[in-house]
């Protein structure tokens, strides 16, 4: 049985009041949800709250659930929406559309070549670079890189076209390369 089929069967069982099925569903997915929320918000208590809210929404929606999309895609869509809401509350800023997604300017400190850096410093640069990405680019990068989703799945989660995802990821990668220090002065 494929993973998605199993999830659909589990959701049917949850619908019929099977608490064990909900626990199994939770065990299968709660780490992924938590990790996505944590990497997006970079805050563990907030990621916990979001993970809990995601699964409570799944639990509530079990009665009306129909497997139109892949279960994990639906789960990530709920997670993304809650993360964006949290970000709006936290920063009181609007999530811009792709046209308005301005990548931040790099400071001079970011321009030192990565080859001269320690591993810990590279990691720090990676974290800083991802955190600096605009929300729509960041979520696309996280879903692709850490959750192994395809462009098509990311497009479904973000509610945009595959070409839009392709463009966002390309821009994000270019920013990350410059920010981390993999682009030499000549090629900038």
């Amino acid at each position: 049985m494929e993973n998605n089929d199993k999830d659909v069967v589990l959701m049917e069982r949850v619908k019929n009041g099977d608490d064990g099925a909900f626990e199994e569903l939770l065990t299968r997915h709660y780490q992924s949800v938590y990790r996505l929320a944590y990497r997006f918000l970079y805050d563990s208590p907030e990621a916990e709250d979001i993970t809990q809210e995601v699964f409570l929404r799944v639990f509530r929606a079990a009665q009306t659930y129909s497997p139109k999309a892949k279960f994990s895609t639906w789960l990530y869509t709920i997670t993304k929406n809650l993360c964006f809401n949290e970000l709006r509350k936290k920063r009181s800023v609007t999530i811009f559309s792709i046209e308005d997604e301005m990548l931040p300017e790099l400071s001079s400190m970011d321009e030192s070549p990565v080859s001269k850096l320690e591993e810990a410093e590279v990691k720090k640069r990676v974290l800083d670079a991802v955190r600096e990405l605009p929300a729509n680019l960041r979520i696309a990068v996280l879903l692709l890189k850490y959750h192994g989703l395809s462009y098509e799945e990311v497009a479904e989660i973000l509610g945009c076209t595959v070409n839009a995802v392709k463009l966002r990821v390309h821009r994000a990668k270019k920013f990350l390369a410059r920010s981390i220090g993999y682009v030499s002065q000549e090629t900038k």
Binding site: Y34, E48, F55, L56, K145, L176, A177, T187
Partner: protein
């Protein structure tokens, strides 16, 4: 081959999202274009560097707290569903008892009516002497007359009022 088109597709090549025909074109170009190859390498290194951000495990209590929250939600849903059902049940039972009681009395009335129809009250036939009735009536009238006389004897007349002040007489002012 256009370098700009190639560079726009480098990211998709890294993500293995390019169709086979485009993938061959880009790879062929990279083997001969130093600048595009440098761009590809920088993107590739940056993408690989993201792997240094390890997965963070959720806290141990998280799963249990989610399960507890779900159970609590289920219990509150149950109560939320049960309350209206219980209310409807109580109302239905009340209505049933009310109408059942009404029918019960109704049946009694019907039964009583039927009984009355089926078994009419027995009528006693009594022979009445008219002269005796008249005699009794006369006795009753005499008794009432003598009682009235006795009442009149008990009347105490009130003193006369000053006619100048008030033309009224004391007639009729009595205490019974």
């Amino acid at each position: 081959m256009n370098c700009q088109w190639v560079q726009e597709n480098l990211s998709a090549l890294l993500d293995r999202e390019l169709p086979d025909n485009q993938k061959e074109l880009v790879e062929s170009h990279l083997s001969s274009c130093f600048q595009c190859k440098a761009e590809f390498d920088s993107l590739s290194h940056a993408w690989d560097a993201l792997s240094s951000w390890e997965d963070k495990d959720p806290p141990l209590h998280l799963k249990d707290s989610i399960l507890r929250a779900a159970k609590k939600e289920k219990a509150s849903n149950f109560i939320r569903v049960l309350l209206p059902v219980a209310a409807v049940f109580v109302i239905a039972v009340s209505i049933f008892l009310f109408y059942r009681g009404g029918n019960y009395y109704g049946k009694q009335v019907v039964l009583t009516d039927q009984k009355e129809i089926q078994t009419p009250l027995p009528v006693e036939s009594v022979m009445v002497d008219e002269n005796e009735i008249i005699k009794n009536l006369q006795l009753l009238e005499e008794k009432e007359f003598f009682e009235s006389v006795e009442v009149l004897k008990t009347i105490d007349y009130l003193p006369l009022l000053d006619e100048k002040v008030d033309n009224r007489t004391s007639m009729g002012y009595y205490s019974a």
